[in-house]
């Protein structure tokens, strides 16, 4: 079919002359967000809370504190044993621990500040 009655240039000019352009938001997106249903979030929050409670109960039943204490003591013992096998001159293991903790805190601080700048 030959569309010889269609003037594409005329139509293009007409729509360009009558271009609507971008419509300013004027609070439209806020109204949309306000009207979004919340039931998904409620279920999500409930599920998260239920899982958290279940984890806490399981932790208490399985004597979680004793397990953590034992793990820390084992790690402390292993690190102490490794530390005394090296000669650090006047450095004692406690100073080495303080050094490790300090470096870790400084690194964590730098990461947090970097994330804050990004956000």
């Amino acid at each position: 079919m030959i569309d010889n009655n269609i003037d594409d240039e005329l139509l293009a000019k007409f729509f360009e002359d009558n271009r609507i352009g971008d419509i300013p938001d004027d609070g439209f997106s806020n109204r949309v967000m306000h009207n979004l249903p919340n039931h998904n979030e409620w279920i999500n929050t409930l599920w998260t809370a239920a899982c958290a409670i279940a984890i806490v109960i399981y932790f208490i039943i399985r004597n979680g504190f004793d397990v953590i204490k034992l793990a820390i003591l084992n790690i402390f013992g292993d690190v102490s044993g490794a530390a005394v096998s090296f000669k650090f001159g006047d450095l004692t293991p406690i100073l080495i621990y303080i050094g490790i903790v300090t470096v870790t805190l400084v690194a964590a601080y730098n990461v947090i500040m970097r994330e804050r700048h990004i956000v």
């Binding site: 269609i6 005329l10 609507i20 419509i23 967000m33």
Partner: protein, 179 residues
């Protein structure tokens, strides 16, 4: 890159229920969606905003149904198109016998300055489907295959509506001295 940004935001909404991510999508697409409804409702801003809001709410509640087979904008336009025709069906709005849609005369009192008179008058002479196809192509810049995806019509039908719509518009413009 644009599509990757949309998919990233959609993923955050679908998986983490991140409302801030959805807010970004709303801010990004509110203008083209509202503009689409303005041309379909002959400049009725209140109705356009209501329909646009319905569109975004439906997009949010059905976000997990977006599978990335098309772009997010195409999927959103499809929801908008269906929302429009659901409104027409609910309100029993049909084309008049001579092809002039009843919604045009019904809403003429609510006409809005965002839609200039010439464009209103021109779009009024088209049928609903012609108006949808013509506005998606000539105002929103969508390709024929995208229009077919949005409207659910096959490409041949889209081309027919575009051809008839453009012929009517060309005649209208020439008859009204626009050349």
């Amino acid at each position: 890159m644009k599509e990757l940004d949309d998919i990233s935001l959609v993923t955050q909404v679908a998986v983490f229920h991140n409302r801030k991510a959805f807010d970004k999508l709303v801010v990004k697409y509110q203008s083209p969606i509202r503009r689409f409804f303005l041309t379909q409702t002959r400049g009725d801003q209140q109705l356009s905003d209501d329909l646009a809001q319905d569109t975004f709410v439906k997009a949010y509640t059905n976000i997990t149904k977006f599978h990335g087979l098309s772009s997010f904008s195409t999927w959103l336009y499809r929801i908008a198109y269906n929302t429009l025709y659901d409104y027409f069906r609910r309100n029993k709005i049909t084309d008049d016998i001579d092809g002039v849609p009843a919604v045009a005369s019904r809403n003429s009192e609510n006409g809005d300055s965002n839609l200039k008179m010439d464009l209103k008058d021109a779009m009024q002479i088209l049928s609903d489907k012609e108006r949808s196809c013509v506005s998606l192509q000539l105002i929103e810049g969508q390709s024929i295959d995208k229009i077919a995806e949005i409207t659910g019509m096959n490409q041949g039908t889209v081309k027919s509506h575009l051809s008839r719509g453009k012929q009517k518009l060309t005649n209208f413009l020439k008859q009204n001295g626009y050349d």
